[in-house]
């Protein structure tokens, strides 16, 4: 009894421990989700955005591609940082998904895939 009271009491309580574990896991999940938003989401967005750019830039075909390709890394890293700068994870995912799909839609329209 005595020893127990000296030990940090809350960690002994299984319920509290479970709660803490949950909290820690939620945090870990949030971090994983954010990293995947940055890496995968950022990649997808950059890919469709620059593809659209290469179609709409008023340059010759090869110039448009080279220019948009040169900008990819700038765009990717900006998106990456933005993902970490925004507080709400929901906003991040929704923005990425919406912008990427609208870019893709525009490409599809321009290329006449639809």
């Amino acid at each position: 009894m005595y020893a127990q009271s000296i030990n940090k009491a809350p960690t002994r309580n299984p319920l509290v421990r479970l709660k803490m574990a949950c909290k820690a896991n939620v945090y870990a999940l949030c971090v994983i989700s954010r990293f995947s938003a940055a890496i995968v989401g950022g990649y997808v967005f950059t890919a469709v955005f620059t593809s659209l750019l290469s179609l709409i830039l008023p340059l010759s075909k090869s110039d448009a591609v080279l220019l948009s390709v040169s900008l990819t890394i700038l765009i990717y890293s900006c998106v990456f940082i933005w993902v970490f700068a925004i507080k709400s994870l929901k906003t991040v995912w929704i923005t990425i998904l919406l912008t990427s799909s609208s870019c893709f839609l525009s490409i599809a329209l321009l290329k006449g895939w639809l």
Partner: protein, 540 residues
Amino acid sequence: MKENFFRSMTWMHTWVGLLVCWLVYLVFFAGTVSFFRDEVTLWSKPELHSISKPPAEPIRIAQQREQITNGIAYLANTAPDSSRWRISLPTTREPQLVYAYEKPRAEGSKRFGGWQTYIINPETGEATAQPRDSKGGNFFYRLHFDLHYLDARTARYIVCFASLFMLVALISGVVIHKRIFKDMFSFRKNKGSRSWLDAHNVSSVLALPFHIMITYTGLITLIFMLFPYPALTAYEDGLKGLFNDVTPTNIRTKSSTQSAPLVSTDYILDQVYTNWQSADLTSFSIRDPNKASATVTVRASTADLVKDQTPTMLFNAVSGELMAQSAQELTTSEVIYDSMTALHTGRLANPLLRWLYFLCGVAGCIMIATGCIMWAKRIRERMKKDQTASFGLKLVESLNLATLMGLPLATCAFFIANRLLPVSTVQRADKEILAFFITWLAVALFTLFKRAKMQWYLLAWLNAVACISVPLINALTTKGNLVSYMLNAQWALFSFDLVCLVCALLFILQAKKLRTQLSPPAPNTRSNRVTKPPLMEQKG
């Protein structure tokens, strides 16, 4: 992600940086050595040390003409049936003349058969002794983006993502750095992790434009692998279409079996020199020689232009007619793309600029090294007396020691193996590389057991000894040494030995510093007043 922008960025900088720091350190280290790729390759082949540099302008043109004519005669004599011939002309960085032809391909195979090379001393026109089999600087060049023991494509993806993380860490590093100008001049000695932070800041800020440039352009060099999508969207035939568009000399004629004589090389060279007066040719190659479909590709050096695409001319080798030529004037987009690649590879650099590239690369290594050391130090400082180190902390400390101290040692092992392995060893080049990785593995295993100050101290001495032994073994096993290089003005070789000695000195200083820290308190106790950061690892 955190309460405010500043804290989010700090959090991101720490974790994004820590996640890839060891890999990025390897990439920076190998990249820094690769700035002297040709010089390191030259050092690793002592058989070529006696060749002197090619002459200047007026003599050079006449000499190149003669070398090409002789080379074609030589190859026509030695390998009339080969499907490719190549003559690589001497440059200031690679003084040897090379005649090469493609070895016969395996029956029915379409795969390139590999080059059979003859190394010629351009002064005498005679073949030199076959140099030892060694990858030299090319090993570090490949290690820089292909890693090793890995499929090249996978490795490049890994390196790409690590570089992206690096770029993100750099940008967020600038964001979180409030007093960027003031900190450039502040270095607080003997203040524990504070000193490491200062070292981190100084090395990052001083060379910041370089760090951002080299990381960004590095990603650009692999961009068509990472982001082929713009090209895939704009062109029906994807990347192939783009490349054919931007490189007009990218024409392949269909091989024919009908034989036809080659036009005289003078006829082709006359056309080259009318178009490009005083061109510094680098190579002259023939595809399908003595066939009706034969073509000649002539390449010239870009010299010190910020341009990566080599000036190229493509001729029909039977009629001598010019088929295609690389664009003289690039469009703005092409310039943007091309100059970025040129800036990354640094082929444009004259010796002084090359050293600046090298020093900035070293600053990059220091930045990464101090960053990952700082993480471990901070956690240690925050730990309470009776707390034991977590697995994560132990892992980071092990990786720090293994990477930061192991890599220079492995590099020394590579160079020592280059001099000590018998020349006749089978697959010699691979064994040198094996020496590199075995040494590194040994250091890594060593750090698994202990990674305290004592181990840093031991490895610092080991590195110092290894760095000294490189020029020493070189002096004992070859005809040249530091003094003779200086007397003969062989500056590439001289600098190589000198850099080794400077590194040795730095490692000795590091060991001395660690010793003063080790002696007063008992080893392994970490007080809060950790002293000045010993000068970290340098290039080996």
